[in-house]
Symmetry: C2
Subunit: 105 residues, 2 copies
Amino acid sequence: MGEVKHILLAKFKDGISQQQIDDLIKGYANLVNHIEPMKSFKWGKDVSIENLHQGFTHVFESTFETVEGIATYISHPVHVEFATRFLDHLDKVLVVDFKPTAVDP
Amino acid sequence: MGEVKHILLAKFKDGISQQQIDDLIKGYANLVNHIEPMKSFKWGKDVSIENLHQGFTHVFESTFETVEGIATYISHPVHVEFATRFLDHLDKVLVVDFKPTAVDP
């Protein structure tokens, strides 16, 4: 089966405080406790040095067991409510999902 | 310490064949064998359904032990040679690096 990763890149709007950002990250993490197919959540600030980040400053990585699980997550009322609040604070957002696959040597 | 993830999003140019894409992915994976700080490599096609992928079709995820390791990787001659060839086949590219961090409940 293998896990599926849901990667969201974000740039918060100018004028959003660090406290607001911290609260939004906690709110995002809290989705794990409410939405069964969401198995884990991690995040980090972009620290890349190649200048190919196109202005994105934060990375959010969730894992799911199936792509169907991501569809369930997206339409879950707790996610819908959080996403509306979260997106309202973002200047830019990009989302990709993928099944991490190794390459045979 | 904790690992650092290097995420590259790509869209290949129109007209690139599947064989060329497969060869480039093998070339990317092969960097692990030549560049010591690069610890692992995985990839996957974007399967997201939210239409927030901004045209990116492939996700490449490498792991490093430190951000300094990523700098070493970027300037490594084997990476420089591969990156020149790889980027020549891309229509779009985006790179972010982050330390995956859990959120205390």
